[in-house]
C-alpha cells in the first residue's frame, strides 16, 4: 500500500495499461509487515515527521514514503473550503436564503453607519460654515450670572435693545458683517387677521418677535411682500410680518395691500411673510414687528439677544471684544458667546447614534445566527447519508465537523457580502437622492464579511457536533 499513493500522484508513472493502480504483490506483503510493526512500535509518529509528510503531500507525493496505512486520515484545510464551495455554489438560492439574516444584519449596520457618517459630515459642514460666523450677545443678567428680574419692564432702560450708537460701534468692528437685534415675547398672544375684502378675523396664538430692519437682512431672512426700513425702526411704526407657520395657521397664503394683523388687540399693518428665518429660525413662527415696537408687549428679557454675523473664522475674535464694543463703560453688562462651543454636545449625540446602529446590527446579527444555525442543522439532518458516505471514505468525526462549520461560515460570509453590497447601495441611493456627499468607512464591507463568517461558524458549531457524532453505519442506512 505504501507505494500506491505515489502512483496516484504520478499518473504518468503508473503501471502501463493500468490507470488504476493495483496492489503489487511483491511489494505489498513486505510493506504490510513493515508498516504494521513500525506503527505499533512507535504508536504515534512524531510531529516533525508528520510535518515533513505534510510538505511531501503538498509537493505531490514526491520523494519520501508516505504515511503508514493506520495513520489517521487527513483532510487539507483548502479542500474543506473547496468542498463547501462546491456544496454552496451548486445551491445558490438556498445559500443566499440561509445567509439572509446575516445579510440583513450587515446591511443594517453598514447602511446606518454610512448614513450617520454622511449626515454628521453634512451637519458639521453646515454647522461649521454657519455657526463659526455667528456670535450671540445677551444681557449677563439674563444669562443667569445675576438674578433675573421676574418681570422685565418693557424697554425700561435695562440695556436692551442697545442704542443705535452702540449697535453702530459693533457693526464697525472688523470682521462683523451684520448685526441683528432679536426679541421674543414671554408668552403667545392672540393674533387675528383683518382683510379688506372679507373682513374675516381668525384667532390664533403666536409669539411676538422683535427685530430691526438691519437684523432682518443680517440673519438672511427670506421675505415675500416687503420688509420694513430703518425709518420704521426709528419711529416705532406699527408694521408687521407674519411667520410662514403662523400665516398658514391663519389661512393666509399671500399678503394683499390693506391686510392687517391684530396682535393682542393692537392693529399692525401687514407688510409680508417671513418664509424662512435664516439664522433666526424663530422668525418663521410668530408675528414679527420692529424691535422698537415691542414696547406694547411683555418681552422676555432672557431671550433678548443681539446676533452678530461675522466673516468666516472671525467669530472668536469678535466674541472677545463684543461686550466692550456694546457697552464701553460697563462691558460686564453683556455676555457674548459663539455657538461652536457645542461641539462636545454634537459629538455626544453622534456617539449615541453610533451605539444605536451597533445595537441594531447586533440584534439582527443574533437573528442571523439563529437562522444560519437552524438552516445548517436542517441541512445536516438532510445530508446524513452523505455524512455516512464520507465516513466510509475515510472522514473522521472532526473532518465532518470541519465540513459543517465551514459550510456555515461560508454561508455567513456570503450573507455578509450581500449585506455589505446592499448596505452600501442603500447609503449611496439615499445620499444621491438627498444630494449629499456620501461618507463611507472603507473598513466596514470587509469587516461585514468577516463578521458574517464568524457568525456562521458559531452557528455551525452545534450542527457540527450533531453531524460528527453520527455512527457511520447509522448514517449510511438513512437515505
Amino acid at each position: 500500500m505504501g507505494e500506491t499513493p505515489v502512483e496516484h500522484a504520478e499518473p504518468a508513472e503508473a503501471e502501463p495499461g493500468a490507470g488504476v493502480p493495483a496492489p503489487t504483490s511483491p511489494a505489498g506483503p513486505a510493506a504490510t509487515g513493515h508498516g504494521a510493526t513500525g506503527h505499533s512500535a512507535s504508536g504515534r509518529v512524531t510531529r516533525a515527521r508528520r510535518r515533513r509528510r505534510a510538505v511531501t503531500l503538498r509537493m505531490g507525493w514526491r520523494g519520501r514514503r508516505e504515511p503508514t496505512r493506520a495513520d489517521p486520515s487527513r483532510l487539507r484545510a483548502l479542500d474543506v473550503v473547496h468542498e463547501s464551495w462546491l456544496e454552496l455554489s451548486r445551491r445558490p438560492l438556498r445559500t443566499v436564503l440561509t445567509g439572509l439574516g446575516v445579510a440583513l444584519g450587515t446591511g443594517a449596520v453598514i447602511a446606518t453607519q454610512g448614513l450617520v457618517s454622511t449626515v454628521r459630515y453634512q451637519v458639521s459642514d453646515e454647522f461649521d460654515a454657519q455657526l463659526a460666523t455667528q456670535v450671540e450677545v445677551r444681557l449677563r443678567s439674563a444669562v443667569g450670572d445675576e438674578p433675573v428680574g421676574a418681570v422685565a419692564t418693557p424697554d425700561a432702560g435695562a440695556g436692551f435693545p442697545p442704542s443705535a450708537g452702540d449697535l453702530d460701534r459693533v457693526a464697525a468692528l472688523s470682521g462683523v458683517e451684520g448685526v441683528a437685534v432679536l426679541r421674543d415675547s414671554q408668552q403667545e398672544v392672540p393674533v387675528g387677521l383683518a382683510r379688506v375684502t372679507d373682513r374675516t378675523t381668525a384667532g390664533e396664538a403666536a409669539y411676538v418677535r422683535g427685530v430691526d430692519a438691519a437684523g432682518l437682512e443680517a440673519v438672511g431672512a427670506r421675505i415675500t411682500g416687503q420688509a420694513w426700513s430703518s425709518w420704521h425702526d426709528a419711529t416705532g411704526q406699527r408694521v408687521a410680518l407674519l411667520g410662514r407657520r403662523t400665516a398658514d395657521e391663519l389661512g393666509l397664503g399671500e399678503v394683499r395691500p390693506g391686510d392687517q394683523v391684530f396682535v393682542d388687540g393692537l392693529g399692525f399693518t401687514l407688510l409680508g411673510i417671513v418664509e424662512d428665518g435664516g439664522r433666526a429660525r424663530g422668525l418663521a413662527n410668530g408675528v414679527v414687528v420692529p424691535a422698537t415696537a415691542t414696547g406694547h408687549f411683555l418681552m422676555s428679557e432672557e431671550r433678548d439677544r443681539v446676533l452678530v454675523v461675522t466673516a468666516p473664522g472671525a467669530a472668536k475674535d469678535v466674541e472677545a471684544v463684543l461686550p466692550v464694543a456694546l457697552s464701553p463703560t460697563d462691558p460686564e453688562r453683556y455676555s457674548a458667546y459663539s455657538p461652536t462651543r457645542s461641539d462636545t454636545l454634537r459629538r455626544a449625540v453622534d456617539g449615541s447614534f453610533h451605539s444605536l446602529a451597533l445595537a441594531l446590527g447586533a440584534v439582527v446579527m443574533g437573528l442571523g445566527l439563529v437562522s444560519i444555525g437552524n438552516a445548517t442543522l436542517t441541512s445536516v439532518l438532510q445530508r446524513i447519508n452523505e455524512i455516512g458516505i464520507r465516513r466510509a471514505l475515510g472522514a473522521r468525526p472532526r473532518h465532518i465537523a470541519a465540513h459543517i462549520v465551514v459550510d456555515a461560515a461560508l454561508t455567513g460570509a456570503a450573507g455578509g457580502l450581500i449585506g455589505a453590497v446592499g448596505g452600501l447601495a442603500a447609503t449611496l441611493a439615499v445620499t444621491a437622492q438627498q444630494g449629499w456627499q456620501p461618507v463611507l468607512d472603507p473598513r466596514l464591507p470587509p469587516l461585514g464579511i468577516v463578521a458574517g463568517a464568524l457568525v456562521g461558524a458559531v452557528a455551525g458549531l452545534y450542527p457540527a457536533r450533531v453531524g460528527s457524532r453520527l455512527q457511520p453505519t447509522e448514517a449510511l442506512r438513512r437515505e
Binding site: P23, H82, N385, A395, R396
Partner: protein
C-alpha cells in the same frame, strides 16, 4: 493470519446490538481468513448478518468480541483516527444503493476517494478521470450523477471505491438494484479488477448465479458464518 498474504483474518468476531429484550446477535463468532487476491461471495438470507459482517470488515462498525486483523494490523487496538486512515487508504466500499453525492459530477464523486488522504486536487482530478475510463465511463466524467442510469451509477461507485488503490474491496449487494444485463456489466468490471489487478474482493449477493461465478463462498445464517472452503466455522461460541 500467519500468512503474509492474508488480507483479512477474523477470529471469533461477534457483534451484538441492543440490550435485554432488544438484544440482537447479528454476528456470532465469525472466524475466517481471506487471502490476497481472493474473490469471496457472502451469501445468506435477509437479516442473517451479511451487512453487519461487511461493516465490521470495513471498519465502519466495531465488533463487540473477537479479534480482527486487517493486513496484519490488529484493528481493535486502533482508535477512530487510525480506522479512518485505513478506510481512506486500504478499503473500498460499493453499496447496493450506490451512495453517490447528488449535484456533483461523476468525476467529482470519484475524487472523494482521495479527499481524506490529503491528495492535492489536481492529482485527485487526474486519477478520477483515469479511473472512470477504466470502468468505461470516460465520456460521462462530467455528467451530473443524477442523470446517469443505475448501471452507470454503480460503475461510478466502483470507480470511487478503487480510485485510491485499496487492497480490499467490499461490495454489499452491488447488483441488488440492477437488472440482469446491467448486473453483468458491473460484475465483469469487478471480475476484471480481481483477475487483472489482483484486487481482493468480498461481495455480498443474493444471487446464486453470481455466487457460482465466484470461486469462494461464505454462508451467513443467523449470524453464523460458515466458510465453504471449510477453513473455519464457528457458531457455538456465541455470546458467552
Amino acid at each position: 493470519m500467519s500468512g503474509s498474504g492474508a488480507i483479512v483474518t477474523c477470529a471469533g468476531v461477534s457483534k451484538t446490538y441492543g440490550e435485554g429484550v432488544a438484544r440482537v446477535e447479528a454476528l456470532k463468532g465469525a472466524s475466517f481468513a481471506v487471502g490476497r487476491g481472493e474473490q469471496v461471495a457472502v451469501c445468506g438470507p435477509s437479516g442473517s448478518g451479511k451487512s453487519t459482517l461487511m461493516n465490521v470488515l470495513g471498519l465502519l462498525d466495531v465488533p463487540t468480541e473477537g479479534s480482527y486483523e486487517l493486513l496484519g494490523i490488529d484493528v481493535s487496538a486502533l482508535g477512530e483516527p487510525g480506522r479512518a486512515g485505513l478506510r481512506s487508504r486500504v478499503i473500498g466500499f460499493v453499496f447496493q444503493s450506490f451512495h453517490l453525492l447528488g449535484a456533483r459530477s461523476a468525476a467529482e464523486n470519484v475524487e472523494l476517494a482521495l479527499l481524506y488522504s490529503a491528495v492535492p486536487r489536481r492529482h485527485r482530478s487526474a486519477v478520477a478521470r483515469e479511473t472512470l475510463a477504466r470502468v468505461g465511463l470516460a465520456h460521462r466524467a462530467d455528467a451530473d450523477v443524477t442523470t446517469l442510469s443505475g448501471g452507470e451509477r454503480q460503475r461510478v461507485a466502483i470507480a470511487r471505491a478503487i480510485a485510491h488503490g485499496p487492497e480490499l474491496l467490499l461490495a454489499d449487494e452491488p447488483t441488488g438494484n440492477l437488472d440482469t444485463a446491467t448486473s453483468d456489466q458491473v460484475l465483469s468490471v469487478l471480475d476484471d479488477l480481481n483477475t487483472g489487478d489482483g484486487l481482493t474482493q468480498i461481495v455480498v449477493t443474493h444471487s446464486e448465479a453470481l455466487a457460482a461465478r465466484i470461486g469462494r463462498r461464505l454462508d451467513v445464517l443467523d449470524g453464523v458464518v460458515t466458510d465453504s472452503a471449510g477453513v473455519a466455522a464457528a457458531g457455538r461460541a456465541d455470546g458467552g
